[in-house]
Symmetry: C2
Subunit: 339 residues, 2 copies
DNA sequence: CCCCGTTGTCGAAGCGCTTCGACGCTCACC
DNA sequence: GGTGAGCGTCGAAGCGCTTCGACAACGGGG
C-alpha cells in the first residue's frame, strides 16, 4: 500500500517471465499458455500489482478515461443531472474506463485542454443547448464525443436524449384515452424556452401536435417555480378554462406546487382534474396523490451515451441521433373523466 | 487539432532550445532568461502545444488529478451534492488539477484502484457516514484524502463540514431572540438517523442543547418526505402542542410540504408559526413566504476540502477537523412572536 | 589575475508501460 | 525427413515528459 508501487517488471521477475509477457497476459492481445497465464496472474495477485495509468496511457495512446461535462447552470432538474452522472460513471466502469469531471464554465477551452493533453479519450456533454458554442468545436475535435440533448443542427455529431416530442404526445394520448377533451400543459419557466433549451420545446410541440391530432383543445403555458407564481398561473388557467379537466406538467420543481395550488382552489386530483407529469419516478411517487408520469430515463440515457462513445472509440459507426422511447406509468393522478 | 499532437520536442526545435529548457520555462523550476522564456512561450502559443498528461504524470509522479467520491445514495439533498461537486471541480482547477469522478459503489476497491494506479494524487470523499467502511482504509492509504462530513472517529483523517451543531443552535437562538418559547425541530427521515448520518444527529443535538440552555421547551421529530406523511407529522405536532409558535426544519425535500401542511391547517407563516429552515438559499428564497434559513455552504465546504487536500499534497500539516461557521439569513418566515 | 559562485542552458537517463519484430518450438502435411 | 505455419515468449524500441548533473559564460572579491 505505502512505499513504492509495484511495477510490471517486479511482477515479471516474480513470475519468471518477460515484462512483455505480463503485459500480454493482462491485455489478452496475444495468445499465452494457460500455465504461464496462471503464474503471472498469481504474481499479480500476490504482489498487489496495479498498472500505472500514466505509463499505460503514454505507451498505448489511450487514457481509458472519458470526460463528463456538466452544464454550467441547470436547465434540467438537478437530481436528474446527478442520475446521469452516476449512470455515466457506472457504465464507463463497465468498459474499464474512468470519468473525468469537467464543468461547462471552462467552455471549449476546457474541452480542448482535456482532449489535447490526452487526459481523456472522448467526451460526454450533458444538457447541450440549441445554440451551443461548443458544438462547432466538437465537430472539429479529433476526439469523439456524445451529446446528451440535441443542438439545433446535430449534423456530424452523436446525440442521445429522451424523445420528448413523443413524451408530450404520450401524455395527451393517455388523457385522450381517458376521455379528456380540454387539456393544458404547464412547462418549464419561460426563461428556459427563451434560452432555446431543446427538450422543453420538443415536449411543447409533441403536446400541441397530439392535441390537434386528436381534435382536442389544449393550452400550453410556461410555468415559473415559486409557489405564488404557480398558484397564480394555475388560478388563471382554471378561471379562463372552466371546462379544463386535465393537466400535463413538465417541470419537476413546480409539480408539487401545482398540486398545492389545486388543493388551494378546491380541485381534487384526479376527480376534478387529472394530472400527468413528466418527471423522475421518485418525484411522481412521493407526490400526493402519486402521479401518473412519463419519466426521464436518466439511467438509460447515460448508459446509452457511454455505449455510443465506446463504439466511436473503437471506430465503429454510430447513428447521429438516438431517441429513447418514453414510457408512461399510470398512478393515482389520472382516471377516466367523470364527465 | 487533428492528426498527431504537438510534442515538447517540436516546441523545442521551433524555439531553438533544448527540450529541458522548454520544460523549465513551463514549470518555472529553474531560472530562464527573459529572452529564452519569450521565445519558448511564443512557440508554445504558435504550435498550440499541450503537454501530454500521461507522460507528465509518468515522469513527475504526479497526475495532477484528484478523485471526487460521490455517495452511493444521497443522505443529503441532491442539489447540494451537485453544488459540492462543481465547487470541488472549480477549486481544483485553480490549483491546476482535474477531478476524476468515482461512485461509492466500488467501495474501497475503487479507491485503491485509482490511488494505486496513480490515476489520482489524492481523494475527496463526500457524505461520509459515521461508520464508514472506507475510513480504516483511508487511514492506511499512502495518498492523502479529505472527507466531507465526520465519521465517528475522525482521528488520523482530515474532515470538513458545516458546523451543524452550531446551525441547530443558531436557529434556536434566533427564535428565542424573537420571543418564541415553544419550538419544534423537523429533521431528516428516520432512516437517516438510523443510518447514523452525522449531520442530521448533530443538528438535533445543537437544537436540543440550545433549547435547554435558553430554558425553552422543544420537541424534535424525524420527518418523512411525502406530502401526506409531512402533513400527518405537522398535524400531530400542532395538536399535541397547541402553544407551539416556531418550527425548525432540517429537511430540504420536506420543507415545501411543511409549508403546504401549515397552509392546510390554517396556520399563517410567520404570524401563527415562525419557520426557520436549514437548507440551500435557492430553496429558501423560492418558498412562500421566503424562509429565514441557515444555508449549507456547499461552495465553501468544497473549496475548503480542495484547499486542505492541496496542502496535504504539498506536505503541509493540516488540522484533523475543520468546521465551517453557519450563517443565518433572516427572511419572511420569522418575525417577533405576536403573543 | 585567479578562483569560485551564479546564472542559463543542455544532454541524457529514466518514469512504467505497450507493441513490434524476431525466434525457437511443435506439429501437420506431403 | 523436410517444410511451413502457427504458437508462445522474449528483447528492445519507443511513448513524451521531468529532472539531475554538467558545463559554459560571466562577474566580483581576494
Amino acid at each position: 500500500m505505502s512505499g513504492r508501487a509495484v511495477t510490471i517488471a517486479e511482477v515479471a521477475r516474480h513470475a519468471g517471465v518477460a515484462v512483455s509477457t505480463v503485459s500480454y497476459v493482462l491485455s489478452g492481445k496475444r495468445a499465452i499458455s494457460a500455465d504461464t497465464r496462471r503464474r503471472v496472474l498469481d504474481s499479480v495477485q500476490m504482489l498487489g500489482y496495479h498498472p500505472n495509468a500514466g505509463a499505460r496511457a503514454l505507451a498505448s495512446r489511450r487514457a481509458n478515461v472519458i470526460a463528463l461535462v456538466l452544464p454550467l447552470r441547470a436547465g434540467m432538474h438537478v437530481p436528474v443531472l446527478m442520475q446521469f452522472a452516476t449512470s455515466v460513471v457506472t457504465a464507463a466502469r463497465r468498459y474499464d474506463h474512468d470519468v473525468l469531471l469537467l464543468t461547462a464554465d471552462e467552455g471549449s477551452d476546457g474541452l480542448r485542454r482535456a482532449a489535447a493533453s490526452a487526459l481523456v479519450d472522448g467526451l460526454v456533454l450533458m444538457d447541450v443547448e440549441l445554440h451551443d458554442d461548443r458544438v462547432p468545436f466538437l465537430r472539429e475535435l479529433a476526439e469523439p464525443s456524445v451529446l446528451i440533448g440535441f443542438p439545433a443542427d446535430p449534423s456530424g455529431l452523436t446525440c442521445v436524449d429522451l424523445d420528448f416530442t413523443r413524451a408530450g404526445a404520450l401524455c395527451v394520448e393517455h388523457l385522450a384515452g381517458l376521455g379528456h377533451r380540454k387539456l393544458a400543459l404547464l412547462g418549464a419557466p419561460s426563461v428556459v424556452y427563451e434560452r432555446g433549451t431543446g427538450f422543453a420545446r420538443r415536449t411543447w410541440e409533441g403536446f400541441t401536435e397530439a392535441v390537434d391530432r386528436y381534435g382536442l383543445t389544449g393550452v400550453a403555458l410556461p410555468c415559473e417555480e415559486t409557489f405564488e407564481e404557480v398558484a397564480a398561473t394555475v388560478g388563471g388557467l382554471l378561471e379562463h378554462n372552466p371546462d379544463l379537466t386535465a393537466l400535463v406538467v413538465h417541470n419537476e420543481t413546480a409539480v408539487n406546487h401545482v398540486l398545492g395550488a389545486l388543493r388551494l382552489y378546491g380541485r381534487r386530483v384526479p376527480e376534478d382534474v387529472a394530472v400527468v407529469a413528466i418527471c423522475p419516478d421518485d418525484i411522481a411517487e412521493r407526490s400526493s396523490p402519486p402521479l401518473t408520469s412519463v419519466l426521464v430515463p436518466a439511467e438509460d440515457v447515460g448508459r446509452e451515451a457511454v455505449r455510443l462513445l465506446m463504439d466511436k472509440l473503437e471506430g465503429r459507426a454510430v447513428p447521429e441521433g438516438t431517441l429513447l422511447e418514453p414510457r408512461l406509468t399510470t398512478r393515482g393522478s389520472t382516471r377516466p373523466d367523470p364527465a
